[in-house]
Symmetry: C2
Subunit: 318 residues, 2 copies
Amino acid sequence: MDNASMTPTFSDVLAAAARIAPHAHVTPVLQSSSLNNLVGAELFFKCENFQRAGAFKFRGACNAVWNLSEHDALNGVVTHSSGNHGAALALAAKTRNIPAHIVVPDGANPAKLKAIEQAGGKITFCRNTMQDRDDTAENIRQKTGAVLVHPYTHVDVIAGQGTAALECLQQSPALDFMIAPVGGGGLISGTITAVAGKAKNCRVIGAEPDGAADAYASLRASQRITDIVSNTVCDGLRATVGEINFRIMQAHRLEIFTVSDAETVAAMRLIWERLKILAEPSCATVLAALIKNKNRFEGRKIGLIITGGNVDLDSPLW
Amino acid sequence: MDNASMTPTFSDVLAAAARIAPHAHVTPVLQSSSLNNLVGAELFFKCENFQRAGAFKFRGACNAVWNLSEHDALNGVVTHSSGNHGAALALAAKTRNIPAHIVVPDGANPAKLKAIEQAGGKITFCRNTMQDRDDTAENIRQKTGAVLVHPYTHVDVIAGQGTAALECLQQSPALDFMIAPVGGGGLISGTITAVAGKAKNCRVIGAEPDGAADAYASLRASQRITDIVSNTVCDGLRATVGEINFRIMQAHRLEIFTVSDAETVAAMRLIWERLKILAEPSCATVLAALIKNKNRFEGRKIGLIITGGNVDLDSPLW
């Protein structure tokens, strides 16, 4: 069984937390009384924008890198990513002093390229199709012997992402809900795994942009829908949900709220203004979803995963 | 002797820290390895943007409010402010359940007005001249018996502002420098007082915008220069330095670095991007000053007071 078909367990999340502890930051949980008043609930923002490399992605990447045997680690790791996972894997590899090969599609954000390079990642460009990404990464794998660390289907990546919710549960009072954005599904499936093991009475909810709501559609259709062309400002949520990630969401009957880009951008500005932190549009979907459905959450305690803070400040969209 | 001619001591700062502890947040000290590399020094950012009401101003206001006798507190407090001090004083008064009268010049930022109102402050408008501000506040004082809490010359305000540097020194390793912006001088004179008492080997430095460099000019002239018309994006630093504040700076031979607005805005964006926090332009002067004079700071440990995070996100200036 390859690592992309393995289902992580709560023990895997606990092991991941111990494994990444020497390298990852324990990020703060912030609150805002004005946002509490706005939603009519008690909100606990888990601030992964303060994580190393600026996003929760470092958790999964770090877990994957440090769970390699000495022998497997020798030739380093390889992945494809246009976003935070590439920089996160490069930085994680650096903590173990092994090479990281990052396949990046043409037209990627220069800031993200710089982050990968600064972390010591070796960049290979490819065309911006899923096929060409996979082929290029596979080619490097065969040539170098590097281990493929997929951005969201890898079992160690999922377990590592789950440590953000685990930590949030440890830092907050008993939560009624934990809400996280859904992209490829690495974070949400790790979150489901962590919460199911740690807080039986806490319910996980997903947030997805209208323009990339393939997980929402897949759960309704009871099968994975892979032909949706994404169109959203949430650059971290454009990927199609993975097979293993879909199965975990389905098994837990995950409920997903969808939000428009306008709702997301308004929520992002609220986060900036009230929490005084920089958060990416992708994670503002969680606050947008809460505001849109606030009658569901009145008086409850809710954890929100703020996934990252790698924002393009020059974007005309906000 | 009125409270605006009294010089605060280190004991006053320690007393202020104890007095405000039940009400103020202990704000975090953040670091960024990329900013360390950029300056070639080790930087410790004291994040008062996470303080209540979004700025260090709450410290001084809270200290002044809670140092009133029961009798003096009865009729509440009064101040004039177009900025963070008004909202801070209103919120501080609310913690003691006493009235706060805030005189606000015409044309003040609607967001700041809303913050004052939300904290329960009673707003009185006046014309935007120093004379009319003073007269209106004095009028309210006589009519209501409220105690005047000046934004930066009041001894309790200065001592309260000093608690930010005190806390930063407690949270960081031994610092070689502490750098803070200079506006009316409440923060810098409190910082000088705290650092002189707590860390003899730490040197305080001020940062001031070119367009409001009255403290810089005053120190060079060895007398307070009050006729400079300010012109800077740093809305928190436009006030003319106070008499008592000037005397404290002069007694400690404070060194001030001046920076242009362009340098400040560039530094502010660096803070947003690298630290993932929202910081006001006023406090970005400290990072701008470090970057501009980095040969002076090579390899040293430096505390920087991030004064607040009340940024107008719609400004065309950044």
